[in-house]
């Protein structure tokens, strides 16, 4: 491990870019994960910025979000924001268990990696399940609908609307439901793929593949992805639900 000792030492420009070393002090795979995450950050940013644009244009017909998301499982009480807050909390905790898994990987602690990565997968599954429940509640809507002028086959008709679909919804402007489906759907799909990728790496840690490789960098790479998913949710939580 002669290289290991020199990785974090300050190097001259010539040593850095002269070849034979990584100027970033990171492996190819980790660097590419960072670049992928940067491009993904731009995808999510454009979605959230266009949400901001739509909210500014349709200021009057945009619903107050806490009057839409007030349901909580197993109760009919009016609890605004509480369920989304709980989902945020679950995702943050699963991010913490991922940090602990990466940390266990740094010391080659196989048991630790398997335990913490397993908990992360469970947290991710709970989050995806919560999102499915929220989508269901959003689509079905309340018992009492709202009379609205909607476009059906190119003709404007007055109609009782319950719940939401891509054409119209009972809550407010059409774009409100569209952005809800698109943003939380795009994020939910990221969480789902994250769970699948975590599961694959968990299996590799369990059967000793990573141990034989001599390092647990794969855990670090999927960890970066998982933290990014948590990071995106922090922004979605603020810009879709809180504001």
């Amino acid at each position: 491990m002669a290289h290991q000792a020199t990785v974090n030492a300050p190097l001259t420009t010539k040593e850095l870019w002269g070849g034979g070393t990584s100027p970033f002090g990171a492996s190819y795979g980790k660097l590419m994960m960072w670049f992928f995450l940067l491009s993904d950050a731009f995808s999510f940013s454009t979605l959230l910025v266009s949400l901001g644009y739509a909210r500014f244009v349709h200021h009057a017909s945009w619903p107050v979000v806490e009057s839409v998301f007030y349901h909580f499982p197993f109760t009919h009480a009016h609890l605004p924001l509480l369920y989304v807050g709980l989902m945020t909390f679950i995702l943050i905790i699963s991010s913490v268990t991922m940090v602990l898994a990466v940390d266990a990987g740094h010391t080659n602690d196989k048991k630790g990696v398997v335990f913490w990565l397993g908990l992360t997968i469970i947290g991710g599954l709970i989050f995806v399940g919560s999102q499915a429940w929220e989508w269901y509640t959003f689509i079905v809507g309340n018992e009492t609908g709202v009379i609205k002028d909607v476009l059906v086959d190119g003709v404007v008709v007055s109609k009782e609307v319950t719940g939401a679909n891509l054409q119209y919804n009972e809550y407010g402007h059409t774009l409100f439901a569209n952005f809800f489906f698109f943003i939380t759907g795009f994020h939910g799909f990221h969480v789902f793929s994250g769970v699948v990728i975590n599961f694959i790496i968990w299996l590799q840690a369990l059967d000793g593949t990573l141990e034989r490789r001599g390092h647990y960098e794969m855990v670090e790479k999927v960890g970066l992805y998982w933290h990014f998913v948590d990071l995106v949710w922090v922004f979605v939580f603020t810009f879709f639900y809180l504001l």
């Binding site: 491990m1 290289h3 290991q4 990785v7 990584s22 970033f24 002090g25 990171a26 492996s27 190819y28 795979g29 980790k30 660097l31 960072w34 950050a41 731009f42 940013s45 454009t46 910025v49 901001g52 644009y53 909210r55 500014f56 244009v57 107050v64 806490e66 009057s67 605004p80 924001l81 509480l82 807050g85 909390f89 943050i92 905790i93 991010s95 913490v96 991922m98 940090v99 602990l100 990466v102 940390d103 740094h106 010391t107 080659n108 490789r213 001599g214 390092h215 960098e217 960890g223 970066l224 933290h227 990014f228 948590d230 990071l231 922090v234 922004f235 939580f237 603020t238 809180l242 504001l243």
Partner: protein, 128 residues
């Protein structure tokens, strides 16, 4: 040749750590966890007690709460990126490469929100 085959080996070798170092790392993780949870709980409580319908969407209180939400979000994001994703431990040129392009978003947000406000005004004037 070997370096190209498994380059990660040079940068991800297991670190030998004293129990004190482990304790220090764990404590940092716990502190950041508590901070992130506290901010989230605070946001939800504020959202329930001072809801938009309650204080009024046009009131200065709501404008202040809005700004506070954005600042708290950026604080949370900073802690996730710097501590959880270990970007703070990376070399300076990697940090710059990742963080500098984000600055472009400031311009995108600026033009989109101003354009949105203009369109709203335009349509309102048209309907007058």
């Amino acid at each position: 040749m070997e370096q190209e085959l498994d380059q990660s080996l040079y940068y991800s070798a297991p670190h030998a750590r004293t129990p004190e170092q482990t304790k220090k790392v764990r404590r940092k993780i716990v502190m950041v966890t508590l901070l992130l949870s506290a901010i989230t709980i605070f946001e939800v409580v504020i959202g329930i007690l001072y809801s938009k319908t309650h204080v009024g969407a046009e009131s200065s209180t709501w404008q202040m709460i809005k700004m506070m939400y954005i600042v708290l979000t950026l604080i949370k994001a900073g802690y996730i990126v710097i501590v959880f994703m270990h970007l703070g431990d990376e070399r300076k040129n990697l940090r710059t490469t990742i963080l500098l392009p984000i600055v472009l978003l400031v311009y995108l947000i600026f033009i989109c929100l101003f354009e949105g406000e203009y369109i709203l005004q335009y349509v309102q004037d048209l309907l007058k």
